[in-house]
């Protein structure tokens, strides 16, 4: 009974309902602007809402969070500039769809599957929270390392054409991610003695440059051709179309929930691993991956929205943040006099169910706000290039500047944009570079933690891996996926069928 009462709090209070709606709406636009992140918006809200009661403050933050994760897909599809790192995988197939005149369809399907993913994440939070939290914190450094390796293997799917060029691009990304002061030993790496490089290269600046600027420069080659007319007849996907993708969506939502619940990873890695999963399980996509496959949208967008519910799992059950946004919300709860920790569920069960309910409402608002206004949005792509390209440049500059209010980041963004343009010209895929930058620290830090934990003995590390069921599953997955991408797999497979 108490549970139902707590679930009803945000539904029956018009003010809370309004705040969730407002937050979701604002979140979609914050998420869509590259460089403005949900983390940033929620941190600002802490200062803004500290005098409020706790429910309205949390309601607004949850709306922004849910809307923002979804909003990142907008610019990824329309302009090839992911609004947030978790929308990087969405750009891989979303932007090719826009180029074919299918931007409306892409946004429509993304909205619906985001709702599905969000819903599954919330359901997992409501039903399995304590169980999943224990599972999530049991990940050891070696497990995080193998998760990063699983992510790195995605290079295979992202390298259109030459795998060698893809591996080169991925390695370059890992090197870029390693620039700066090493957080474990306080040693400077690749800084060439300059203090400007000590805090590393802003990852968002690399992302905006590589995706946005390089694409803008590519389009200069065809500046005089007319823009593709966008079809706006089939924006809201039909039930049969949605139903076809539900099995994949369920799998990738589960991946998203678990990766979101892990304290060391968030929606960006969830989306990338889900994308890789989709390329493996989808046997015959109607359109190849990388050229506008619907599956390439379904996987990352279900996963990153499912990661929202996932991130709340360790936060509400143990007081351990699942990602940067929930870390800030823990701070908000402290400020409002609550003590998030293992006792929160016992002392304040209402807060748990209130958050579940608010997330569910935000998810519904996201569906409604997401599906309205698509027609206007897709017109952006139809703008003449002479208008669109300067606008992309401006948006990229503002976005890169907004991350740290640093002009240096703008230079990095432009530099990587030009570099990315030349990489494209010479057939080097850009996806693996971004992948490398994202996974660099996860891989490096946890590899070192793992080997240090095992007294710097590879043998002990291997023994530990084989002794833990979780590590063993991850280890076998890494091996299988790796082998499946080498000629060896084909040889074994052919022998069996022969």
């Amino acid at each position: 009974m108490d549970v139902i009462n707590a679930l009803l709090i945000p539904i029956l209070d018009l003010k809370l309902l309004g705040l969730i709606g407002l937050g979701t709406f604002a979140g979609i636009y914050v998420g869509a602007i590259p460089g403005l992140s949900v983390t940033m918006a929620v941190s600002i809200l802490i200062s803004f809402t500290f005098s409020w009661a706790v429910y309205p403050a949390i309601a607004l933050m949850i709306g922004i969070y849910m809307g923002g994760v979804y909003g990142g897909s907008r610019t990824a599809i329309l302009l090839n500039i992911p609004g947030a790192p978790s929308a990087i995988a969405t750009a891989m197939d979303g932007f090719p769809m826009a180029k074919k005149g299918l931007a409306g369809e892409a946004i429509g399907i993304v909205t619906v599957v985001s709702f599905l993913g969000g819903f599954i994440g919330i359901l997992a939070l409501a039903i399995f929270a304590p169980l999943l939290a224990d599972f999530a914190i049991s990940f050891q450094p070696r497990d995080y390392m193998m998760l990063a390796v699983l992510g790195i293997l995605l290079v295979g799917s992202l390298s259109e054409g030459s795998l060698v060029k893809g591996i080169f691009a991925g390695a370059l990304g890992i090197a870029i991610g390693a620039v700066g002061m090493d957080p474990l030993t306080y040693t400077e790496r690749f800084t060439f003695g300059t203090s400007g490089l000590r805090s590393g290269v802003s990852f968002v600046a690399v992302m905006i440059g590589m995706f946005g600027i390089s694409e803008g420069l590519m389009q200069l080659h065809t500046v005089n051709t007319a823009a593709v007319k966008q079809k706006i007849s089939s924006i809201i996907p039909s039930w049969s179309q949605v139903r076809k993708h539900i099995p994949l969506g369920m799998q990738t939502s589960s991946i998203g929930t678990v990766i979101g619940a892990l304290p060391g990873t968030g929606g960006d890695i969830a989306a990338l691993i889900a994308y890789d999963h989709a390329t493996r399980v989808t046997k015959n996509p109607e359109v190849p991956f990388g050229q506008g496959a619907i599956e390439g949208l379904v996987a990352p967008e279900t996963a990153n929205n499912a990661a929202v519910g996932g991130a709340f799992i360790p936060m509400l059950t143990l007081g351990i943040p699942g990602d940067a946004v929930t870390a800030i919300m823990i701070g908000a709860l402290f400020i409002h006099g609550l003590n998030p920790g293992p006792m929160l569920m016992v002392d304040q069960p209402n807060m748990f169910w209130f958050i579940v309910s608010a997330l569910a409402l935000a998810n519904c608002f996201m569906l409604i706000f997401g599906l309205t206004g698509i027609r206007v949005f897709v017109k952006i792509v139809e703008l003449p290039r002479a208008v669109l390209l300067p606008a992309i440049l401006l948006l990229s500059i503002v976005g890169a500047y907004a991350v740290n209010n640093s002009v240096n980041d703008v230079y990095w963004m432009l530099g990587f944009g030009v570099f990315g343009y030349f990489m494209k010209l010479y057939g080097y895929p850009l996806g693996p570079v971004i992948l490398g930058v994202i996974l660099s620290r996860l891989l490096d830090d946890n590899w070192r933690r793992a080997i240090i934990s095992d007294q710097e003995s590879l043998w002990m590390l291997l023994k530990g891996t084989l002794a833990s069921p979780l590590s063993l599953v991850l280890f076998v997955s890494v091996i299988l996926i790796f082998v499946s991408k080498t000629p060896l797999w084909g040889m074994i497979f052919r022998k069996r069928t022969a």
């Binding site: 360790p314 943040p321 701070g331 006099g337 907004a402 934990s453």
Partner: protein, 331 residues
């Protein structure tokens, strides 16, 4: 889209333009937290700042700039203009940078706005650890060299100082696993990735209450009012008394050269914020001891802390240079 770009550009313009003679704060203030989200520095900084904002009448946008034992965040503020629009929320670590060879800047390059509170160190273990008290832990480690994993947050952090204290009395052969902040390390402790973590009581208190981690010893001379049942280290090992009480602290700093009236405004704002009942309740509830020092008192506290701790870790052989080289007097 065009609309959005225009709005974005206007926002960017607004951030860049500084009215030269306007009353401080005339624009958004950047607050750099030198440790990660969810850790104790982060919690204290984010809890006090809204109250200070209310007094100040401006906005402080908080940002975690982590890494390099907090030096990345510290250097960022040190490289910004000394105009009070970039403030540092720091812990004790920078006072050890010079002797640890971690950097050439410390709080002598900054003006303390407020030394907010002091933490009490506590040694916690994961619930499966085969020992329940400090003497049992020492016995276990001596019987199983290198098998016990201690979490660390890099040289100069609380874990390294508490470890130096322990090593100065009972040398331990353990494996140190580095994490970037006490939040991630305590998460790893609960996930059994590490066995023991010297932490600040505030970061561990909810976990201890909830039974997800096990307290071994409080590193203080008297028991904590929040957890009266946890034995102090002095009750089992009185030889530690000469180094205690000791504790990490949290403070708000601005770069040297910041105009006096700006420092005065920030000092007044944070001093008043520290008396807010909500903040006092948070500090007590999380096991910190309120200090709220400013001006000469704060300088004296910083000098004393630097002298005690630098010599402690120097004598433990953890330093790269002698405190004498930097004019740090022996206590």
């Amino acid at each position: 889209m065009l609309m959005k770009s225009v709005i974005g550009a206007l926002v960017a313009l607004g951030l860049g333009v500084v009215p030269a003679l306007a009353e401080y704060p005339a624009k958004e203030i950047k607050g750099i937290i030198q440790w990660g989200a969810g850790g104790s520095t982060d919690t204290v900084a984010r809890a006090i700042t809204p109250h200070a904002q209310a007094v100040l009448g401006g906005t402080i946008v908080m940002q975690n700039v982590t890494g390099g034992v907090g030096a990345i965040g510290l250097n960022q503020v040190a490289n910004d203009a000394a105009d009070g629009y970039s403030i540092l929320f720091g812990a004790e670590n920078p006072l050890l940078y010079k002797v640890m060879g971690l950097g050439d800047k410390d709080y002598s390059d900054f003006v303390p706005v407020n030394i907010i509170a002091r933490g009490v160190p506590i040694l916690v273990a994961n619930v499966d650890a085969p020992f329940n008290t400090f003497p049992e832990m020492v016995a276990y480690i001596n019987a199983n060299p290198k098998a016990v994993k201690f979490g660390s947050t890099g040289p100069g952090g609380l874990p390294s100082v508490v470890t130096a204290m322990i090593n100065s009395k009972t040398p331990l052969d353990v494996t140190f696993v580095p994490y970037d902040g006490d939040g991630p390390a305590l998460t790893a402790l609960q996930g059994k990735a590490i066995d023991v973590m010297p932490a600040v009581l505030g970061a561990a208190i909810e976990g201890i209450r909830g039974g997800t981690m096990k307290p071994l010893a409080m590193f203080d001379i008297e028991p904590s009012p929040q957890l009266p049942d946890v034995p102090t280290i002095v009750s089992t090992n009185p030889e530690f008394a000469e180094m205690l009480p000791w504790g990490p602290f949290f403070g708000v700093f601005v770069k040297n050269g910041t105009p006096d009236d700006v420092v005065a405004k920030l000092t007044a704002a944070y001093a008043e914020a520290a008396t807010h009942p909500d903040f006092v309740a948070l500090i007590d509830g999380r096991g910190f001891k309120m200090l709220s020092l400013a001006g000469a008192e704060a300088e004296e506290f910083l000098t004393g802390w630097q002298s005690t701790t630098s010599w402690l870790i120097h004598e433990a052989g953890m330093t790269k240079a002698s405190p004498e080289d930097f004019g740090i007097v022996k206590p």
